[in-house]
């Protein structure tokens, strides 16, 4: 997790965006010192609700840059993700995929066991970039805890996107694993041996499949009106002068 946070911090630095304007609603618990170092406003919220909470932050103050960090995204927060992408709410979603579902040849992570699947996992996982893209997200990428430089670049780029961006990060979540300390180094080695960078790959081809290399990269980058853009256009058209556009151009 720490490598992701430092990559994230580097990404903010590169983007040139004022850290004070960044809000991170997250269902992944961050240490206060980490948040302090990041220099952002942090909200640890109930599981799965990061995107919905972020939607409120953004609509309440469109000048904020809102970066929901989601661990339970695709379970409890699945609906928020799908609809957030559909309405193209301007959010940068960092989706921390901690391998609770079937991943690599039936083994969640090399030489570790998931506490919730002592007999290994068997459920199919989501293909996040594909799901996000098909629901309307304008920017999709996937990196692992090993690809910190690329991750920082993606963060910097996506922070300037107007619309919903999703960056999937493959990393172990400490809650799920019985032996977190021993996995970090081995994991990086595993990512090194088992991942391949394919930028601009069609997201439908990037599902994580047992015994195949994990495809990482920046997959899609497009433009589409955000929720606030469409809200303003629609109401201006009908209400004319009676309507004051919300949040100016920044929406």
């Amino acid at each position: 997790m720490n490598s992701i946070i430092s990559a994230f911090s580097k990404g903010i630095e590169k983007s040139g965006i004022d850290r004070k304007k960044i809000s991170m609603p997250s269902d992944v618990p961050f240490n206060p010192d980490v948040v302090k170092a990041l220099g952002v406003d942090y909200f640890q919220i109930p599981r799965g609700r990061a995107i919905a909470f972020g939607t409120g932050l953004k609509l309440g103050n469109p000048s904020l840059k809102v970066v929901p960090v989601a661990g339970d995204l695709m379970t409890l927060g699945g609906n928020h993700f799908v609809h957030g992408a559909r309405r193209n709410m301007e959010l940068l979603i960092i989706c921390v995929n901690s391998f609770v579902y079937k991943k690599i040849a039936g083994k969640p992570i090399p030489s570790t066991q998931s506490a919730f699947s002592p007999y290994s996992t068997f459920e199919e996982p989501f293909n996040f970039p594909h799901l996000g893209n098909s629901c309307g997200a304008i920017y999709t990428a996937r990196w692992t805890a090993l690809h910190t430089e690329e991750l920082a670049d993606s963060v910097a780029e996506a922070l300037h996107k107007h619309g919903l961006s999703v960056i999937e990060v493959l990393a172990p979540g400490p809650n799920y694993y019985t032996d977190i300390d021993s996995i970090e180094l081995e994991l990086l080695k595993f990512y090194h041996e088992n991942s391949t960078i394919k930028n601009n790959e069609d997201p439908k081809n990037v599902a994580i499949v047992p015994d195949e290399k994990i495809i990482v990269g920046k997959f899609t980058d497009k433009e589409r009106p955000t929720f606030i853009d469409s809200y303003n256009v629609q109401h201006s058209k009908i209400l004319g002068d009676k309507f004051t556009p919300h949040g100016g151009k920044n929406g």
Binding site: S23, F43, P46, R49
Partner: protein, 413 residues
């Protein structure tokens, strides 16, 4: 602080309670409404969708009730006033984040137009069976404020009051209305903006490095901040210290959660609004709230014509509960009569405060309608005649219940 003239739709209207609550929220300065439409609260949402964009209030139809209330909390932390509107099953879905909102000391308003329950129940008809849920629905210890209006005019007035209380005590405020009031159309007078008092948010204005998000003022309520002000907020639903940082030990848990409940309990006198009538020399006092209190007035009038000394106590704020008032009255009266559209909720709090000093009579109603005023007057009459002390809550058999039981719907002996 006065309301902003651009938010107030001054005029005389003939509208239903839902719409009046929506206009009240706009007048109070609510700038984001997030909701998922559900009968019978839909008209409130519709009113805000229609008028909101004309007064600078954003509305968003969220994907579900989890999303609605989460967006409301997010909006509040971005610095604006916000509310959500729901009913029945939607209210149940919101429970998780009501506790979260209470834990974060987030000022927000939730309008619940109660319908017949449980489950899908009777969506288009009335009920008052969410009262205990509003108090205890989310897990853990917390306190909040609940108000129960009885007419469209009150829906307007008390929605503004709900926002004011939320800001003042930094807590969730529930407007526990019901379908009858929500769908009742009456005259509503919306005054000029300068006649409407608005509680400003308790923003922190000191130096950023000294800000402690959960360091309370003397009234136990801390100053609030908003995202984007460079205060480096660390806000969590975990038990936290004054900085907002998570803490686990017993001592801190006691300190923080104690304050969370005490800020409401110790400010009770300032929060509670009651409407009390002729209780001084009453033999029987009718305790009621919302639409039931309005119907009860008619029952009280009928009982008075029969020469019974009966008073009325209307709980405008249901939570926090006016313990002291009931304790006080219990020493003087023979009995309390409590009509509510459920099978006993608030009546048990009345009984709790009675300590067996007065009889407590529940007039139940299964929902999908309101009480027959004759049942209320009959219950008053029989309570006034009863000289024995009866333990526990006595259930009055209403006309409706008698019909149901006569048809043979009875429990096996």
């Amino acid at each position: 602080m006065k309301a902003s003239p651009t938010d107030v739709l001054t005029g005389i209207y003939y509208i239903d309670g839902d719409v009046a609550a929506g206009y009240g929220a706009l007048a109070a300065g609510c700038k984001l409404v997030a909701g998922y439409p559900i009968t019978p609260s839909t008209e409130a949402f519709e009113a805000m969708c229609r008028m909101g964009p004309q007064v600078g209030t954003v509305f968003i139809q969220m994907e579900d009730e989890f999303g609605s209330i989460s967006a409301v909390l997010g909006a509040v932390w971005s610095g604006v006033k916000s509310m959500t509107i729901t009913s029945g099953p939607g209210y149940s879905l919101m429970m998780e984040s009501i506790g979260f909102g209470a834990m974060l000391e987030t000022p927000f308003v939730l309008l619940n137009i109660q319908r017949g329950g449980p489950s899908t129940g009777v969506p288009t008809k009335t009920g008052q069976a969410d009262m205990m849920q509003s108090r205890w629905g989310s897990h853990g210890d917390y306190e909040l404020i609940a108000i129960s209006p009885d007419s469209p005019q009150e829906m307007f007035d008390y929605t503004i009051k709900a926002f004011n209380l939320a800001e003042k005590y930094r807590c969730p405020v529930m407007i526990m209305s019901d379908e009858c009031v929500g769908h009742m159309t009456e005259k509503v007078v919306i005054p000029e903006a300068d006649k409407i008092e608005i509680e400003p948010r308790r923003f922190y204005k000191g130096p950023p490095e000294k800000y402690l998000p959960f360091s309370p003022d003397p009234d136990l309520v801390p100053k609030i901040a908003k995202a984007g002000d460079g205060l480096g907020l660390y806000i969590t639903g975990r038990v936290h210290d004054e900085r907002g940082y998570p803490v686990k030990n017993e001592e801190f848990k006691a300190k923080y959660v104690r304050r969370l409940v005490d800020k409401i309990r110790l400010n009770k006198d300032k929060i509670i609004e009651l409407k009390e009538e002729s209780t001084d020399d009453a033999d029987v006092v009718v305790v009621s709230y919302g639409i039931s209190s309005r119907v009860a007035v008619k029952g009280v009038e009928i009982a008075r014509q029969k020469g019974i000394k009966v008073g009325a106590l209307r709980l405008v704020t249901v939570w926090p509960f006016p313990d002291e008032k009931i304790i006080d009255l219990a020493k003087k009266v023979k009995a309390f009569v409590v009509p509510e559209i459920n099978y006993g909720q608030i009546v048990f709090d009345v009984a709790r405060c009675c300590h067996g000093q007065a009889n407590v009579v529940l007039i139940p109603h299964g929902g999908a309608g309101v009480h027959n005023p004759l049942d209320i007057s009959d219950a008053i009459e029989s309570a006034a005649k009863e000289d024995k002390k009866i333990e526990g809550v006595v259930e009055f058999k209403t006309r409706l219940e008698k019909i149901v039981f006569e048809r043979g719907l009875k429990f096996k002996e």
